[in-house]
């Protein structure tokens, strides 16, 4: 497994067709498993793929979808023989693209491009890794948690969800993550940044890796900033291409706009404006 300074595994330079192996309902989410025959076996946690149904991508609500959609891979299982990989994606159905993907069944073709972007850097030796996920943002933390455990760096995992149905995604983690729900139906009642603050106040010698809705990431940033804890945030932005071609997916940073798809999606909180 390569651990370059830039945590990026290169993608083949074309969209290819993977085969859907299964689509499982996990509470409020869909877990899609697809076999990518020629893709690299070792995407980096935090990297993402651009996905589209291999057939009938379009003709949904409002004559959409048209563009592919970006999804962090949740887990990757290399195929025997060193080439190809079974990829897992955790989806929340929020519009025509995710709804079409949620319709897929085993055997259907899935068009994909990736892995794309820069994933999570391995944490410095002197800081314990802490993973903070909100809602569908837990997806990239699954493989990151697996990898850190495999490297004997078992991280703390704090997850927040809207409700019990969404919290079902916590069961996918290897350990027993700390779960909060807005409605208190599972785990503690409240937002995930409360246990985060408590945890960091107990021991600030940590590095936070967070992914989730904008509001949550802002809260994580301010807590970490306040306590002087470095934070790596996996961001989202509307994307057309996923590989730097359209300049559409920008976020403001200390030195101007950066493209989430090629300069991220994982950013050091310190560089974000």
């Amino acid at each position: 497994m390569t651990l370059t300074a830039e945590a990026r595994t290169l993608a083949p330079p074309e969209r290819r067709i993977a085969e859907v192996r299964s689509v499982e309902r996990i509470g409020a989410y869909d877990l899609i498993t697809a076999r990518d025959p020629i893709g690299p076996p070792d995407p980096r946690p935090g990297q993402f793929y651009m996905l589209a149904a291999g057939e009938r991508w379009g003709g949904g609500a409002g004559e959409r979808p048209y563009l592919p959609r970006a999804f962090s891979y949740a887990r990757a299982r290399p195929l025997a023989g060193g080439q190809g990989v079974d990829l897992q994606f955790l989806l929340e159905e929020v519009g025509p693209g995710t709804c079409r993907l949620g319709e897929l069944v085993a055997g259907d073709p899935l068009a994909l491009l990736g892995p794309l972007g820069i994933g999570f850097e391995s944490p410095p030796a002197d800081r314990r890794p802490l993973l903070v996920g909100g809602g569908i943002g837990v997806a990239p933390l699954l493989c990151w948690d697996d990898e850190l455990r495999a490297g004997a760096r078992e991280p703390g995992v704090l997850l927040g969800f809207r409700s019990a149905g969404h919290a079902r995604a916590a069961d996918l983690f290897a350990g027993s993550p700390d779960v909060s729900t807005d409605d208190g139906s599972v785990g503690r009642a409240g937002v995930v940044t409360e246990p985060l603050r408590a945890d960091l106040e107990r021991d600030p010698l940590a590095v936070v890796h967070a992914c989730g809705p904008e509001g949550m990431l802002d809260a994580v940033r301010s807590v970490c900033g306040e306590l002087g804890v470095p934070a790596r945030l996996a961001l989202e932005a509307g994307m057309a291409c996923g590989y730097g071609a359209c300049f559409g997916c920008v976020v403001p940073t200390v030195d101007g706009y950066a493209r989430v798809c090629v300069d991220g999606p994982v950013f050091d909180a310190a560089v974000l404006a």
């Binding site: 290169l10 330079p13 074309e14 969209r15 509307g238 359209c246």
Partner: protein, 301 residues
């Protein structure tokens, strides 16, 4: 299957497929795909995104909104500015396996002159594209919307370089063919069209314009019929080659543009769906051409 080589304004190309300016960043793509990108480069000529004299941040996000069979963008021409483009980007673009066309836009005739003079002097640059879809800060109007303004701009630029000048028209002209004819009269070597159509979308959650810049440009298959009509109208008026684009997503589409009068075609939005789209379209086009040859050969017997 590869299409036959072609010539564009005297520059030999291995095939007829360009990228639309601003729709492919070869440097970023190299970061994502590595050298495999260069081994199977999707285009036969690479067109840079539009460069301006001064650096530009571009428009505030959101910059993208999906539309039926297309998308709207308000990117806003972010670029390093002329100087840093020549210093930082050009050396990398010069290593691409295909000829390089640099697109420029100025907010005055002087700015345009500065840009064309500068890129026109660089050996590694094969062609220069002038993006006239911009407001002239002196007159306030869109240069490319007016035949007179376009002719004046191109006349001023023509003597400044030996390199072929391609004028990228704006579709917001009432009569694009008249603007193309004016560009030809002023010495343009080719015209490229269409650019994006002015468009807007509303975010249902706010009932406000979705794009940070309120309005943007529509592209993709949704605009193909409009592009074909403008290409045919321009082809009927000018003798210089036409770079046809607007919603091309297949070899079939590309052949439609050639049938309408384009000499070569450019692929834009479709590359967002697949970085290899240019190569796929070239192969499909070659197959269509071969079938046509066989058919006419059969007919000849």
């Amino acid at each position: 299957m590869r299409p036959e080589p072609v010539e564009l304004c005297g520059v030999p190309l291995r095939g007829p497929i360009l990228n639309g300016s601003g729709t492919f960043d070869a440097i970023a793509a190299h970061r994502a795909f590595g050298d495999a990108l260069l081994e199977s480069f999707p285009f036969d000529c690479f067109v840079s995104k539009t460069i301006t004299v001064a650096p530009r941040d571009g428009n505030p996000p959101p910059r993208l909104w999906e539309a039926p069979a297309g998308m709207i963008n308000s990117i806003g021409l972010p670029n390093k500015g002329l100087e840093r483009f020549l210093e930082l980007d050009l050396p990398q673009l010069a290593t691409l396996p295909v000829p390089l066309c640099v697109s420029v836009m100025g907010f005055s005739h002087d700015e345009l002159a500065t840009l064309v003079g500068a890129v026109g002097a660089v050996e590694d640059i094969g062609l220069v594209e002038i993006n006239v879809s911009c407001p002239n800060v002196e007159t306030g109007t869109i240069v490319g919307a007016d035949p007179g303004e376009t002719e004046a701009a191109v006349r001023r630029l023509r003597p400044l370089t030996e390199k072929p000048l391609i004028v990228k028209l704006t579709p917001s002209a009432t009569d694009p063919a008249a603007v193309a004819a004016a560009a030809e009269a002023a010495g343009a070597d080719a015209v490229a069209l269409i650019n994006t159509l002015k468009g807007m979308a509303i975010d249902p959650r706010t009932r406000q314009p979705s794009l940070g810049n309120r309005t943007g440009g529509l592209s993709g298959p949704a605009v193909r019929a409009v592009a074909l009509e403008q290409v045919a109208a321009v082809a009927a008026r000018v003798d210089i080659p036409i770079v046809g684009m607007g919603g091309i997503a297949s070899g079939r589409d590309a052949d439609d543009f050639l049938a309408a009068g384009a000499s070569v075609v450019a692929v834009g939005t479709e590359s967002f769906r697949d970085p290899a789209a240019g190569r796929r379209i070239a192969a499909e086009l070659a197959a269509i051409r071969a079938a046509m040859r066989d058919a006419s050969a059969g007919a000849a017997l």
